[in-house]
Symmetry: C2
């Protein structure tokens, strides 16, 4: 309604009979300016509710205090947790977060990058799509002097700082837990071989089997393409109907584990007595499903915070060269689906 034009430096300079630059400097307590002038200007500014025009400042300084964040999917427990961490960390440093999603489609990711690049962010946080392998679109970004940090789903083809989950160790610990509980025939529903995270988890799985000298069967490894419930269901059926069925199944992610559980229940196979089930990611569903699902927590919030803090630091130091990788440790969460030894409450 009262569309009162905003007060500018010029206005307050005119009103106070000083020059614009004096006003500008006074406002930021520049040492050149007398305490008296500073006091007067600040008082006037406060009283008349002066707010610097951020557009002008950003234009002048050639930066926006916005950072771009691209994830494959926004409606996804892990990624929304990461975003939450990123937003909170950014806020603390005075940055905004502009969020975009690729839907795991390379073209969408490229477009999002271009938009961010053209439009206005000071740096980029990205978790790449399943279709991204080299990532020259991100290179464009770096070439303009804007730092890029990859997190979670990354490509080694692109040399940037990275914040990743220790998938190998997480998988190793998960499988070790299964072994400790007494399971000795452990299958793995893995992800696509082109995806680094999937490979790391598979390697952790194999290493644990090897270290503890448990049976290894290539037929016990199934590659999920879509990483959904359906695949968990179908592969479990295959596994359980085979000559040599496993007695535990380690899944690439909780959603797949859900399919596993559905099949086992349908087939009347007791979890965890006859077959143990281990997920990965520790989604909300892990506590909800029946029996509750053991899983590996990836500390998404922490990943978001760490990646954002790193990015902002690089932005502020104009550091486009360093390429350190930070690994966030995972955390095994044991629930009913693998608790062979003692099961206090039974399945409710």
């Amino acid at each position: 309604m009262t569309e009162n034009r905003k007060l500018t430096l010029k206005d307050i300079a005119r009103e106070l009979n000083i020059s614009i630059s004096t006003a500008s400097r006074a406002l930021k307590g520049h040492p050149d300016i007398s305490d008296e002038t500073i006091r007067i200007v600040k008082e006037y500014a406060l009283k008349h509710n002066y707010v610097p025009n951020v557009l002008a400042v950003n234009f002048r300084k050639n930066r926006t205090f916005n950072i771009g964040l691209i994830v494959p999917e926004l409606v996804h427990h892990f990624f929304s947790t990461v975003i939450s961490g990123a937003i909170d960390a950014a806020k603390k440093k005075g940055y905004n977060v502009i969020v975009s999603q690729s839907n795991d489609i390379l073209q969408d990711e490229v477009t999002a990058c271009r938009t961010f690049l053209a439009s206005s962010v000071d740096g980029l946080l990205i978790s790449i799509s399943n279709e991204t392998f080299e990532g020259k679109h991100m290179l464009d970004f770096i070439n303009e002097g804007k730092p890029v940090i990859q997190f979670d789903k990354i490509t080694d083809q692109l040399d940037t700082p990275k914040v990743i989950v220790d998938d190998f160790e997480g998988a190793y610990q998960a499988v070790k837990h299964l072994i400790d509980e007494g399971y000795d025939k452990i299958a793995h529903l893995r992800g696509r071989s082109e995806v680094k995270n999937a490979n790391e988890r598979a390697l952790g799985y194999e290493k644990a089997l090897k270290d503890f000298k448990r049976e290894f069967q290539p037929e016990w490894i199934k590659e999920c393409k879509l990483i959904n419930e359906e695949e968990g269901y179908v592969f479990t059926k295959e596994l359980m109907e085979s000559e040599n069925p496993p007695n535990a199944i380690f899944c690439i992610t909780d959603l797949v584990a859900l399919g596993v559980i559905k099949y086992l229940k349908k087939a009347g196979i007791n979890i965890p007595q006859q077959v143990g089930v281990m997920g990965f990611s520790n989604w909300k569903l892990a506590e909800i499903v029946n029996p509750s699902l053991s899983s590996v927590d990836q500390h998404g919030y922490q990943i978001g915070v760490t990646a954002t803090e790193m990015l902002i630091e690089k932005i502020q130091n104009h550091d486009i060269e360093s390429h350190e990788t930070v690994e966030i440790k995972t955390n095994l969460v044991v629930r009913d689906s693998t608790r062979l030894s003692k099961n206090e409450f039974g399945n409710i």
Copy 2:
């Protein structure tokens, strides 16, 4: 690496021996400019990959093509769905979305508003916190000529356009379904009486009971303060141990329903045979829980899309006056927890 300064209008003007304004106009195909010049300039621009400096343009035009989005919680199925819709809709119109969360704390919401206002968004989408009642911080926004649209969790104290779920009708249909299935003693775990959505749902519940002349008992209405699993559990225990226990429970949200289900299972009460359970929101958990939970889908994605489209339209028309309210229809999703009549598969 090759930190090549970006090409500006000035550069291309100098290179082509024309004036800056000619270059500027040629680039946007201004009718004053000869086709020949336009061709040459455009060709040069394309070849040398000219990209207008968005910061400068925005500064000049006093807008940012960013919209602010504030939700109580980001890590929340419904809200992340809304955000997803908002981002997709904004992208189509060439806008970015800056996301922030209030954590249901008024102070955080106010701060987020201030940041957005000062920093640079052209408009605001907001779903208010549980602590927000009047919302003068949003008024600040409007006073600067920037449109605000409230969605889902709104306050009528602030006169803005709104996009809301038809909570009343959703609740009415949910309870009607319970009645149709044969339940005749229906309780309601409602939300806080200060929250509009909670009231609407409670009204829908009461109206349905009245219309179909079913028993109404004030003791069957319990007010959840925190809207969590725990409350669902505790209130259900109370209800079921009372003199006159209900045989169906309609919950303010799926999370509460989860607590309800947990108690009933623990108490050995069969769902849906002895007691039917109805949620609200249709989270992912509704399909995962056992038995699967009937719920009311709120079409979060559509809410995000609609609110965003409305906002952008207002931004572009400098429309700060209109205050229409759009109601997005809900959709009842029937699952096992209320399927008394026929239950094909049984609970798996």
